[in-house]
Amino acid sequence: MIRDFGVVWSEHDLLLSGLANTTILSVLSAAAALLIGFILTPVFMAKQRWLALVVRGFVDGMRCVPFLLFAYIVYYGFPSLGIRLDNWTSGLAALTIYNAAYMAEILRGAWAAQPREPIEAGIAFGFSSVGLFRRIVLPPLLLAAGPVLGNQMIQIVKDSAFLTIIALPELTHAASSIQSRHYVPFAAFITAVFLYWGLCLVIEVGVGSIDRLAAARR
């Protein structure tokens, strides 16, 4: 057994590049999804009913589709639209689009729970548009939504593992390669499990510090 872990360690380059891919993929898609979420959320609550319904349809749709299936559809579907994507890009696209829906839902909920007066005060004091958003609206919103966004981040990390099916060289794929080459399934996958656990603990620590910031200001 110890020898098995030694074998896994000898492949640490592969493992680390898998971990790097997982991390980069997760961070990029989370950031992009959050950005798209910020664009979608106002539309979600727009006065024009049909716009809001379109977004509602998109969000509910993504909630009802398994991510793995969605990744397959993006990977196989885009070529038929004439767009050739490699597995990395289509994996990133799938992860981003899918989670943009969840981000929109989270932001909508957090926005609904925000008190209106401080924002009105901001307007009364002369803040407008970008400044208002950046300095008055955004900080309390992010502080309040911190834990939920953190949870979604963890979801993204786990969803990224599904992309092994389209041969994207992330962590699970790396562990799979190591186990199929050296026949050390336990050591390879346990290592992957502990690396995922570590990644999620890092996210939870981050959420914890945001929560502490929020608590001091409550």
């Binding site: 909630r63 009802c64 196989y76 990224s160 186990q179 995922y196």
Partner: protein
Amino acid sequence: MSGADVLAILQGAVVTVTLSLVGILIGLPIGLALAVLRWADVPVVARVVAVYVSILRATPLVTLLLLLFFALPNIGIAIGPVSAAILALVMNTAAFNCEVWRAALMNFPRDQYEAAQSVGMTATLRFRRIVLPQIVYVSLPGLVNEMSLLIKVTPVLAVVGVVDITRAAVRIGAETYDPLPPFLIAVALYAPIVFALVSVQRWIERRQRIAEAAA
């Protein structure tokens, strides 16, 4: 895509639904048992459960499934794709259910529990007659949410060869060199099931909100 292909996907749906049900039905009581072990603070065991839940909630289902499917035979336990699939689903969903049950237990009103103690109810009676009926009610939305999440991860079972909706769709796509239509049919099968569960959850939450407002 022929009629036979559609039939194949429908047969996959039967597998998906069956395995999901098995996972849900076994995962619910195990999740409750784990939550109770933590709530009762059984020495050593409570800490083990905490660590187990933390790891399982951080582990992607596909990684867990591959681990079970390949590693168990390696240490002498023969396991087929269906058993590995059920085991992975149960281990995963039990960990998430544990947190839902635990939230309800942690928020259980202390004085009701003490009232049960004060009339001489033993621990078993206290749990069975006073605690359990109420935490089931409180945990319902979270548990139904977890059920819908479970259905959404079942496609991963295709990775070890279980012929569920996804694997059937993949196979047909590979045979016909036209992957998109079977995938869309697959979506058309998953979506209503998940949507039904999400709707049930929203209905439960609405009913509970109304009950609370009326009290």
